[in-house]
């Protein structure tokens, strides 16, 4: 095998048959690099233990962000079996603000059996609701959360802090009350890439507000 193969093949239906042509092609952004971009990205992906963002990845492999974005797309398709090779037992997911290799979910049971061990304890309903309030209302203080939940949330907040799902953002300059927000770890645990992917909650709240016209109040 030669090292001058390209990392990204401009894939079309026919590309599979012109494989050799692809391989000898060379890309501008790889000039001066010993090996193709996708390979370098894969090397980094193999050793990281938390999601890596595009910019950090681009810095690590020494290529411009757009090229890295494109190469990532190629890898995603490759692993999904939409490239030239077969589908892989792993996949590349963008979760919690970065990219990371995951076992394809088809094989989760197989791996779970192999790994054994205990699933982490589930969060209580109270913790889930507190987490939801913090996720949507952040930055938010404990007393603000408590007033929505109408109960004391101190111990639940402690649990969520210890689990790394929320974090202290800053202290209010006047009251000194600590404002809390969610962490990237929460996004990872939810399997989403950003807070934008939270389901919209305003319809639920608006719904309630609709009931408030004076006419219906006795």
């Amino acid at each position: 095998m030669t090292d001058d193969r390209t990392e990204t093949d401009d894939r079309t239906a026919t590309d599979d048959r012109t494989e050799t042509g692809d391989r000898t092609a060379s890309r501008v952004d790889d000039v001066g690099q010993a090996s193709p971009l996708t390979e370098r990205i894969e090397a980094i992906l193999l050793i990281i233990d938390e999601p890596i963002g595009l910019v950090a990845l681009a810095a690590a492999v020494g290529s411009p962000v757009p090229a890295v974005r494109q190469a990532i797309e190629t890898l995603v398709e490759d692993y999904d079996g939409r490239g030239r090779g077969p589908r892989r037992g792993f996949e590349l997911r963008e979760v919690g603000g970065g990219w990371r290799l995951y076992v394809r979910d088809d094989h989760d049971d197989l791996v779970a059996e192999f790994v054994g061990g205990q699933a982490p304890a589930r969060l209580s309903q109270a913790a889930l609701e507190t987490l939801a309030v913090i996720a949507y209302k952040q930055p938010v203080t404990r007393s603000q959360v408590a007033s929505i939940r109408a109960v004391n949330v101190d111990s639940v907040v402690r649990t969520l802090l210890a689990r790394g799902l929320i974090t202290e953002l800053f202290a209010d300059s006047e009251t000194g009350a600590i404002n809390y927000g969610t962490t990237d770890a929460l996004l990872q645990h939810l399997g989403i890439n950003s807070l934008d992917e939270l389901p919209p909650i305003s319809p639920l709240l608006d719904d309630g507000a609709d009931g408030f016209d004076e006419g219906t109040i006795r």
Binding site: L45, L46, I47, D49, F90, R100, L101, Y102, V103, D105, D108, V111, A112, V115, A119, P120, R122, L123, S124, Q125, A126, L128, E129, L131, A132, V133, A135, Y136, T141, R142, S143, I148, R149, A150, V151, D154, V157, R158, E174, T175, G176, A177, Q188, H189, L190, G191, I192, L198, P199, I201, L204, L205, D207, G208, A209, G211, F212, T216, I217, R218
Partner: protein, 285 residues
């Protein structure tokens, strides 16, 4: 009140009482009252949609049923459901208190304030419900993602050796000092309320006024007792002092019908104003 069909979809947990799990905590709890029979969640929906009057719901009956229901649950579920029930019951109780407070024919600022207070309580209940519903989404995602396996493999020895040599500058005593620091219990700091400037109302002072008014007349209605008062805080304080005086058997009251006029009579056999000095001490902080 019969559950109206268009309400049903807003209360999905009510649909499957048999498949109750910890994430749909109230799915299994049904309420059976003289005027309502159905899932607890539906009761809340109806009340929040004003299709049922909170003042017609016997919270004590609901509570009794809930306690009976709890006895059949295992410990984890019990705690979850109990805490949730407390949240909702507290809100319902607030609403009910607001609903029962005198409002009457006079549409004055005070009555409007009461209505606003009630709206706030409705809003709170609805907001709570919204977050509760979305928390099911959180539970689903967390559960799904729990099953996933991510590559998290220790760095190869070969690569580990490339990491910069660790710079260590702590003596063993530094280290022990650090341990002390690390073990010091981390109190979650208390949020003071000192910055709030709500006007303070003294129950004792208000009780003195109530005592004076009651002793000077054969009977006084609560409406008269708070006539002309514009501060909700003072109305509340006078109501609490009535309750406190009742505890000291200093007064009797009667109410002929629900929501009817509350008539108060001075009934103290022996009353010293010293009692007044300790009245409402429970509320002192």
């Amino acid at each position: 009140m019969a559950p109206s069909p268009e309400v049903e979809p807003t209360a999905p947990p009510a649909e499957a009482p048999d498949t109750a799990d910890t994430t749909d905590a109230d799915a299994g709890f049904r309420v059976s009252l003289s005027n309502f029979d159905g899932p607890f969640d539906l009761l809340l929906t109806l009340i929040s949609k004003h299709e049922m009057d909170i003042t017609e719901v016997s919270l004590s009956a609901v509570t009794n049923e809930f306690i009976a229901y709890l006895k059949e649950l295992d410990e984890d579920e019990e705690l979850d459901q109990a805490s949730e029930f407390l949240v909702v019951a507290a809100t319902l109780l607030d609403m009910k208190v607001a609903g029962l407070l005198p409002q009457g024919e006079l549409v004055d600022a005070e009555a409007v304030a009461l209505l606003e207070a009630r709206d706030l309580l409705f809003a709170r209940l609805l907001q709570y419900r919204a977050f509760k519903e979305v928390s099911a989404w959180f539970a689903r995602c967390l559960q799904r993602e729990d099953r996933r396996h991510v590559r998290a493999v220790r760095l190869d020895e070969k690569h580990r050796r490339k990491t910069p040599e660790l710079v260590w500058s702590l003596t063993v005593d530094d280290f022990a000092a650090l341990a002390l620091l690390a073990f010091a219990p981390k109190e979650i700091p208390h949020v003071g309320l000192d910055h709030l400037h709500a006007p303070l109302v003294s129950i004792r002072e208000q009780a003195a006024i109530v005592v004076t008014l009651l002793r000077g007349a054969e009977s006084v209605s609560f409406r008269e007792l708070v006539a002309g008062v514009r501060e909700p805080g003072i109305v509340v304080a006078r109501f609490i002092s009535v309750l406190e005086l009742y505890r000291h058997a200093a007064l009797s009251f009667e109410q002929l019908e629900p929501l009817g006029e509350l008539t108060l009579r001075w009934a103290a056999d022996s009353w010293s104003d010293e009692t007044l000095a300790t009245l409402g001490a429970d509320y002192d902080r």
